[in-house]
């Protein structure tokens, strides 16, 4: 049963990797990396039980943590680095309404 779940998680990791390779925009790639990280944490938790080593769960906890902080830091840096012309949700939606 653990084997089936780990295979499902591995397939999902492949799909997330494809999205990271394809993803036209930056945020697609960040989303893919975030999902990849949480799937890796889950894979470690499942495989740790599959191999009978429950003391490896610290790794999954550390992964989940570092992945979260990594995603937030990536978003922060990207926001600071890219030049933004508008920074307002209302403005963006107005443009969407009027631009059509």
């Amino acid at each position: 049963m653990y084997v089936l779940v780990s295979i499902a998680i591995l397939v999902t990791m492949v799909l997330a990797l494809v999205r990271a390779l394809l993803g036209p925009s930056v945020y697609d790639r960040v989303l893919a990396v975030n999902m990849f990280g949480t799937k890796t944490a889950l894979l470690i938790a499942v495989v740790a039980f599959l191999f009978g080593r429950p003391d490896f769960l610290d790794l999954a906890l550390a992964y989940a943590l570092i992945n979260f902080i990594g995603v937030l830091a990536v978003l922060q840096f990207f926001q600071n680095a890219s030049t933004q012309s508008e920074a307002n949700v209302d403005e963006a939606l107005d443009r969407h309404r009027d631009g059509r």
Binding site: V3, S6, L10, M13, V14, L17, A20, L21, G23, V26, R29, V30, A32, V33, F36, G37, T40, L43, I44, V47, L50, F51, R53, D55, F56, D58, L59, L61, A62, Y63, L65, I66, N67, I69, G70, L72, A73, V74, Q76, F77, F78, Q79, N80, A81, A87
Partner: protein, 327 residues
């Protein structure tokens, strides 16, 4: 089963590496290198190397990606096409790869008990650790005691790397009023948004507690100084993301960061000198207590603490050097 997982993960690794090399958008390359680190960590985990997997996760997947992005914030986002000498480079790399692949034909199989690397010191370490050191995690025993000079060298290398980055970029110095405005102007941070702020404030104490757990649990399970230092730095990076650079630098000032960087290495060397003063040789922990095994455990505890402090200080200093600068 291990072999199947290993082959699958290594194939994904090759695909990711090809993606990194072929993509011209540098941001995509950095994201893919984050995935590369995660895959490597999963590989290490499959091979039963838990300490290395934890270190790769803590340093490679999170902090390394963040630092690469910090560097990217100071440069253009597209790779400059450099057409000169591509075929020569491809030829050299292919030749080297073929030679390395040919060399692997002579190697013993992975994990072969008859391999020479398992005949020399490895059985001695495995047998002598319970007798001489008495802790369950042999990796920490090897890292801390049997190869103590190596680890001292590693701490000095980490300190040198941090010093190098500080020479190039520099920290903001003591936060004066003008620098406070410089740092706070035009920079949005996540504290403007309620949800990350609340969740972050809930999580930071637990992250720091988890870092302490990993630090002191290194003798009994996967853990140790390097991982704990990285997780500790990650907690403070989270605070810096939520509250802004100015607040984060006023909580741990740049002077404190440099004190942490050097203090950890000093603690490590200091333990060695204390051993000298107590009559043993440098980094011979047996003289630290009345019973040699207890002395070894106290020594490992102290040097792991030194490693953790130094790594945390260096990672935080490098992060602040990037974050306080880029536009």
């Amino acid at each position: 089963m291990t072999v199947l997982f290993g082959i699958f993960l290594l194939t994904l690794l090759v695909i990711t590496a090809i993606g990194i090399v072929r993509s011209e958008n540098l941001f995509a390359a950095v994201m893919l290198s984050g995935i590369f680190s995660l895959l490597m960590a999963a590989n290490f985990f499959i091979l039963d190397a838990a300490d290395v997997a934890l270190t790769e996760a803590a340093v490679g997947a999170g902090i390394s990606t963040v630092l690469l992005l910090g560097a990217l914030a100071l440069t253009p986002m597209q790779e400059r096409r450099n057409r000169a000498g591509r075929w020569v480079a491809l030829g050299v790399v292919t030749l080297t790869a073929l030679m390395v692949v040919y060399a692997t034909f002579e190697q013993p199989r992975l994990g072969d008990p008859e391999a020479p690397v398992h005949q020399h010191v490895a059985p001695w370490y495995l047998e002598q650790t319970p007798a001489l050191v008495g802790i369950p995690n042999v990796v920490t025993a090897v890292l801390g005691t049997f190869r103590g000079y190596d680890t001292l060298g590693e701490v000095i290398v980490v300190l040198t790397a941090g010093t190098g980055v500080l020479f190039l970029l520099g920290l903001p110095g003591a936060i004066g009023k003008r620098q406070r405005e410089d740092l706070a102007s035009g920079r949005s941070y996540l504290g403007h948004h309620l949800i990350p702020q609340v969740v972050g404030q809930l999580l930071i104490p637990f992250i720091l507690l988890f870092a302490l757990y990993v630090q002191f649990h290194g003798e009994y399970g996967p853990g140790g100084g390097f991982q704990a230092g990285a997780i500790f730095a990650a907690g403070f990076i989270l605070y810096s993301l939520i509250a802004g650079e100015r607040e984060a630098l006023s909580i741990i000032s740049p002077r404190a960061l440099m004190a942490l960087m050097a203090g950890g290495a000093l603690l490590y060397g200091g333990v060695g000198v204390v051993c000298l003063l107590l009559g043993g040789s440098f980094l011979d922990y047996s003289v630290l207590a009345s019973d040699p095994r207890t002395g070894q455990q106290w020594g490992i505890l102290a040097i792991e603490l030194g490693v953790g402090i130094s790594v945390a200080g260096v990672l935080l200093a490098i992060y602040h050097a990037f974050a306080a600068r880029g536009r």
